[in-house]
Symmetry: C2
Subunit: 198 residues, 2 copies
């Protein structure tokens, strides 16, 4: 096996990208939570536990400038727009199983599915489940400093039961979800919960 | 289940994006081949056969302009650059199994792994395989109008055997890979081959 790009490079690619913040601001998501997930995934990857990556933010490119140099061509994008995701933020493989999830943060003691997830994202997670994959939501309750894993079937069950209501209260997460352990490394050990779902 | 975004929209998002061509030009990949794969994936999705999506092209955003309107904020990216992929183009789930692959085109009767795939992409596919996933390459030989599926273990075997040589001849694909059937729908039925690998 050839060397996997080392940690140093990975960190650089996170830090040296001012635009990422732009992208995150659009989705109004806290960087701390996303970084915790990314670092946990890095830990899983480096320890051969799982391969879970964040899908790049979809961007619709409108204009590209090609700058010709003596040695190379440089493509500079001069007009582009963020697009909404048709799938979810994260997917990958753990113990042979396909994993797919979305990560969201809330400032309140409820989580608003309607304003945080598109219908086609919920639909995507439902499809994954019916294909035999493990599909869930990681929701970080900022005020309580607690992160829950809630399987897609529990979300669908809530939405069916409470027709038209899309505010899922923290209690529902406590009763039907799983609290994620915070550790030194991995910081957010969500696969420990996934383990129990397999 | 809520309606999945319909075909019409998907087609729009492919056609209305001039910048995509920019992206593809950078990776010197033919649009026809990519479109065939995307449409096959659409067919698999709409018929509940598999969920396989193309990962968005990673773009490093440097400058964003926020335009405030009466009704909304618009984020316009004014400086950004294409980044190289740390993983592969496609991944998803088929019959409960994790699928991961890269698609490439060659004009010659050989396929140059070295110039078409980064070490960390090969490494990624190797990792997927060792985690129990199905990892492969789809290579389209433009001149012969034939597409082959070659599993990552066959690629690694070739590279190990032929130290330093990264040009895999068509014959190697014929002997160790699988020819993909061309059909009306799905146009490139690669899952028919994957089926035999499970």
């Amino acid at each position: 096996m050839i060397n996997y790009p080392n940690k140093k490079n990975d960190k650089q690619s996170i830090k040296d990208v001012p635009g990422r913040n732009g992208g995150i601001a659009v989705r109004s998501k806290g960087m701390g939570f996303e970084e915790m997930i990314n670092r946990s995934n890095e830990f899983y990857l480096l320890n051969d536990i799982a391969i879970i990556h964040k899908r790049p933010t979809p961007i619709r490119v409108v204009k590209v400038n090609v700058q010709k140099d003596l040695f190379e061509k440089r493509h500079r994008i001069t007009e582009a727009y963020y697009e909404s995701r048709s799938t979810t933020d994260y997917n990958g493989i753990y113990r042979g199983r396909y994993i797919d999830f979305e990560a969201k943060q809330t400032k309140y003691n409820t989580f608003n599915v309607g304003s945080n997830l598109h219908d086609h994202q919920l639909n995507h997670l439902e499809r994954v489940r019916s294909q035999g994959g493990i599909a869930f939501l990681l929701v970080d309750f900022l005020k309580f400093d607690r992160t829950y894993l809630l399987e897609i079937e529990q979300i669908s069950r809530f939405l069916e039961r409470e027709k038209g209501k899309s505010q899922i209260p923290l209690e529902y997460f406590e009763e039907n979800g799983f609290l994620i352990e915070r550790k030194y490394n991995p910081q957010l050990d969500y696969l420990k919960v996934v383990e129990t779902l397999i």
